[in-house]
Amino acid sequence: MMLDRRELFSRALAAGLGASLPAEALAAGLAAAAQPQWALALGDVAADIAPRGLTRLHGRLPADLVGTLYRNGPALFRRGDTAVNHWFDGDGLVRAFACHDGGVQLQARFVDTPKRRIETAAGRIVQPGFATPARPGAQVGSADDTNAANTHVIAAGGRLLALWEAGSATAMDMATLATIGPVAFRPDLKGMPFLAHPKVEASGRIWNIGLSGKHAYVYRLSAGGALEAGQMIKLPAASYCHDFTMAARHLIIVLQPWLHEKASLPFSTGMVWRPEQGTRVLVIDKDDLTRQRLFELPALFFFHLGDGWEEADGTIHFDGAFDSSPLFAVEGAPALVEGRYPRSERPMLRLVSLHPDGRARLRDAGITAEFPRNPGGHDGPRPTFHVGGYQPGRPFARSIGRWDWQAGRGQAHDFGAHQIVEEFVPAGPWLIGTTINLKARATELHMMRADRLTDGPVASFRADVALPHSFHGSWLAA
């Protein structure tokens, strides 16, 4: 294979120099040579990123796009001779891209969690996580001692909330990104699981759930992030739920057959895939959480769902990025930390329709998609913005797409094979998001017209640093 020439050259060089090099240096050199370019997406950030300007590559920052894009994602995977065992177990780094006066300023700070403090002191990865085992020196008095706070960041009540899923939200200062600490929405809810994907009504009211086995705790928060009501509900299955969704009058919990069958650490070792059990969809009336309906679908695996909407006859629709099994979560994402890509991701955009007669139907868009985002509102269909262009041979997305279920068609912009495309979020008429440019070895910020993705970015900016792949974020207009 032609593309192996550089690798062959590296090996020849290493072999030639081998006689005069210490064994460790040789091993390190080979390891570095063997790292694929995309490994930048799981690189380690040594320390907080002090504020700095981005370089404008082309275009102009739209005059009405003034505000800050906050993003969160794991950014420290290795300490000393240890590493986390899974992409999802790195320390959360919250990044702020402030857009104003035609320019962009970037700063980023790690969420100051108990996990990070314990591991900084130990100089090793010791805390258990989603798939990382506890190592000697681990301290786990509560779930929050394992909280990586690395999944999403939203704003509520004048502060940021760095979100994970199996423990508390962590409050941060919006201006300085300094960590304030874990949030207990009420004293007896201290340390409770709080999913990384709260759903926001047009009024600003926030709904979320936290899961423990066959129980979900439903949070209803004011727009300011204060608890209005909380209630426990029983679920028909102890499914893994990274996300749930919401329509105008209902909460929707999709119970995939990846089941939590035993309490063990790390968390993923207690999960079993039971495709024969199919997928159940629990629809809950927001006004009375005891009023519930259950729908059945074939076995599906997913992380992320789009917003739902309801028709006059009661039909509920929502889409999601569905795979056929949890193999990416179980085998693919752990290998990424080691620079390996043994299994292709094939998340497909599909629409779930729940009919009043009890039937549930699936429709395929026929495209790969992940990180679905909608512009808000649950009173009718909305376009789904997503990353896509997944291809065999390289992990992560390379395009940004928009899909309209009513029209049954979409549009996309391909950033190219040298770009890793992260989630883009709606910001009024714009979409804003980040990529990792593998040629420039730098993080980039792009703005696009939400209705004309095929035009490509209207403006692009480049940082002087490559930040690892982030998961989710929020645009806050100034």
Binding site: V140, K190, M192, Y217, L265
Partner: protein, 146 residues
Amino acid sequence: MTLNRLLTVALLALAPLAAAPAAAEGPATLTVTFTVTDAPTGQIMLSLYDNEAAHDRGGKPVAQAAVPVQQGQAVATSPGLAPGRYAIKAFHDIDGDGKMGMTPFGMPTEPFAFSNNAQAVGGPAPWSASNFAVDGPAAATSITIR
């Protein structure tokens, strides 16, 4: 603190005297000093175990006590103990309701600790990490609850 609770504390503190088995080498007295970090109020609730089976598998403690927190510290004294190995599970009952606060999912909301300041790893510290010797008339240990 109510009079009723004061009496309970006194009775619990005395309980080991009656419960202690006859000691071959003469009884020992254990003094446990707790330091708390979350709030300077409330009380420490503690259970003292004298064997691994009871400690690790939900058996009965040889003694239980509640001692008030004053200026961030609390001291419990158990006289009349048979010399041997013991372990302690304790929590800081910050609101003084006599119970470990729990979330709706049954997870503790009040800080807890174990003798030897042994670390919890997804559950209470095991006897193997938290047991310590009690011998002689003036055995002492200290536990920080954070």
